[in-house]
């Protein structure tokens, strides 16, 4: 169970046990059933409602769970070996070594080697003294398998092609490892006896390994895409914002040096936070700090035209939310909502935790100029901005790029388990509702 659900279940069970003990066992006569149930329900409700702030406990990094082994079986089956393959994290020397150790009993070879296209990444078994890890490919048979992109089976020691005369390896089955159509390495199974290992078994296992390498590549690409989206959000900090704030600070430098200095500190905080966030999640309190730093700078620029009202639930402060997600929503409210309204307006940030649905909800609203229905439809259509033909030739000011970027990031982080709703009416303001799983 994730996120402390186990603790919650344990405390609930302990609460009901305590109620039963106090009302039924330690007392004479025992309490009637209905009042006992009422007492238990009241206790349970209190525990569930107080859970996010009181019971979630310290968050510590947990070691990844090891896949469950098969009790009592020393030689892993082919399927079990395939499921627990370390190559799922990529073709690295460490993963290759662990894979070779795992495969040796399953494939029935005396020695197992895994290589990339240049060097030996792992070698387990007889001959490890001269088939050195990190060394270049010594055997002709490995180069032949890579060049031909197909399995090579050799039955004689001379065909193995090891240049060391004392090498005990007599035959080999070498199967290329491929990601798509690109050969990235080989799986080699050597034997010291007369018969080579089963070609079909080795090819099956190589296919499993290739699949794992392909999945590892996809994982890497997915992470790169998520990082790129985060970088895009960082890069989206508008240079005009910087120019405007610097102009504001310059204008206050003579009239109010204290405030100018305070604003410079805030500006430093703002950029430091934006640049130094390297993970995808941060405590809500940190994101809140980023938002209020941004809004303080904007308030210095807009003066009384920009009012801010925060409504923060105490339980939400320690939850973890995606970084750089709330500030762009607030920035949109300032730029497209309040800034265009002559009389100014109020930005409201509301954050709540729902302990029962285990959801964090964040609402950014403004009473600015709002959006026309066609603009709202385009923004909420889910299409990538700029990909659809625009009636106004793309000259509109609501690009929707930031919102689309946030939506894509949330999708990569939460899949379908989030919602981002936008409601707006021209002249009445805009409300953006974000709901994400409680972390």
């Amino acid at each position: 169970m994730r996120g402390g659900s186990g603790i919650l279940a344990g405390v609930l069970a302990a609460g009901w046990a305590a109620v039963w003990l106090v009302t039924q066992v330690l007392v004479d006569p025992p309490l009637a059933v209905l009042p006992t149930v009422v007492v238990g329900v009241v206790c349970s409700t209190a525990v569930v409602l107080g859970y996010p702030s009181a019971l979630r406990g310290p968050r510590v990094a947990r070691a990844p769970r090891r896949p469950a082994g098969v009790p009592g079986v020393r030689r892993p089956g082919l399927a079990a070996t395939g499921r627990s393959m370390p190559l799922r994290r990529g073709l690295t020397p460490d993963a290759a070594r662990r894979t070779a150790q795992l495969l040796r009993p399953a494939l029935g070879g005396d020695a197992i080697a895994i290589t990339d296209t240049e060097q030996v990444l792992a070698f387990v078994g007889p001959g490890a003294d001269h088939h050195e890890v990190g060394g270049s490919l010594q055997t002709r048979v490995a180069r032949a398998a890579i060049e031909r992109r197909r399995t090579v089976v050799v039955h004689r020691r001379a065909d193995v092609g090891c240049p060391v005369p004392e090498c005990p390896l007599q035959n080999a089955v070498v199967v290329p490892l491929a990601i798509g159509s690109r050969v990235v390495g080989t799986l080699k199974v050597y034997r010291t006896g007369d018969e080579p290992a089963s070609r079909a078994t080795v090819e099956d296992m190589a296919a499993v390994l290739s699949l794992h390498l392909e999945l590892a590549e996809m994982d890497r690409e997915r992470h790169l895409a998520a990082d790129a989206r985060l970088d895009a959000l960082r890069a989206q900090i508008n240079p005009h914002f910087l120019f405007n704030i610097l102009n504001t600070i310059a204008s206050k430098a003579r009239t109010d040096p204290e405030e100018a200095r305070s604003l410079l500190l805030r500006l430093s905080d703002f950029f430091r936070y934006a640049v130094r966030q390297d993970g995808h999640f941060a405590e809500f309190a940190q994101e809140y700090f980023f938002v209020r730093t941004y809004l303080t700078l904007e308030q210095a620029r807009y003066g009384d035209r920009l009012q801010v009202r925060y409504d923060i639930d105490p339980q939400v402060l320690t939850t973890r939310v995606p970084v750089l997600t709330i500030q762009p929503l607030v920035e949109n409210a300032v730029k497209h909502g309040v800034a265009d309204k002559v009389a100014g307006g109020t930005i409201r940030l509301r954050a709540r935790v729902d302990p029962l649905t285990r959801t964090t909800s964040i609402r950014v609203s403004d009473d600015g100029v709002g959006m026309a229905p066609e603009v709202l439809e385009r923004i909420t259509s889910g299409r990538r901005p700029g990909t659809a033909p625009e009636a106004d030739g793309g000259a509109h000011r609501h690009g929707g790029v930031g919102l689309w970027n946030i939506s894509q990031r949330l999708e990569s982080l939460f899949g379908e388990r989030y919602s981002l709703d936008v409601e707006s009416e021209a002249g009445s303001g805009t409300v953006v509702d974000l709901r994400i799983p409680l972390r």
Partner: protein, 111 residues
């Protein structure tokens, strides 16, 4: 000019912190009130509360008045104080930033 000028909290931030702390205070006050009001209510409505006997011949109501309420008040007081302190630390000042970058911002000689 004083070189130790800190970034001051904006009125909206102080206002927000006040409202959040008020919510904490109201929540704990309601809890306190429920416990205090619940005691006589149980005595009036549930005969078992006064008639049943625990170890030592005490009724559940007596045991609660003698021990339980003090423990409950202590727990509620400590929890309210801790939560209020945590809320204030997270919603005001720049502690979040300090905690995050303290190590990376230290001058070379101080690391």
């Amino acid at each position: 000019m004083d070189d130790d000028v800190d970034a001051r909290d904006a009125p909206a931030e102080v206002d927000a912190t006040f409202r959040t702390l008020r919510r904490v205070a109201v929540g704990y006050f309601v809890l306190f009130l429920l416990a205090v009001v619940g005691f006589p209510a149980l005595s009036l409505t549930l005969g078992w509360w006064s008639d049943a006997r625990l170890a030592g011949g005490m009724s559940p109501g007596f045991a609660m008045a003698a021990f339980g309420l003090y423990v409950f008040f202590a727990v509620v007081g400590v929890a309210a104080a801790r939560l209020s302190g945590a809320v204030e630390a997270r919603m005001l000042g720049d502690d979040a930033r300090d905690a995050q970058v303290a190590s990376t911002d230290a001058p070379e000689g101080e690391r």
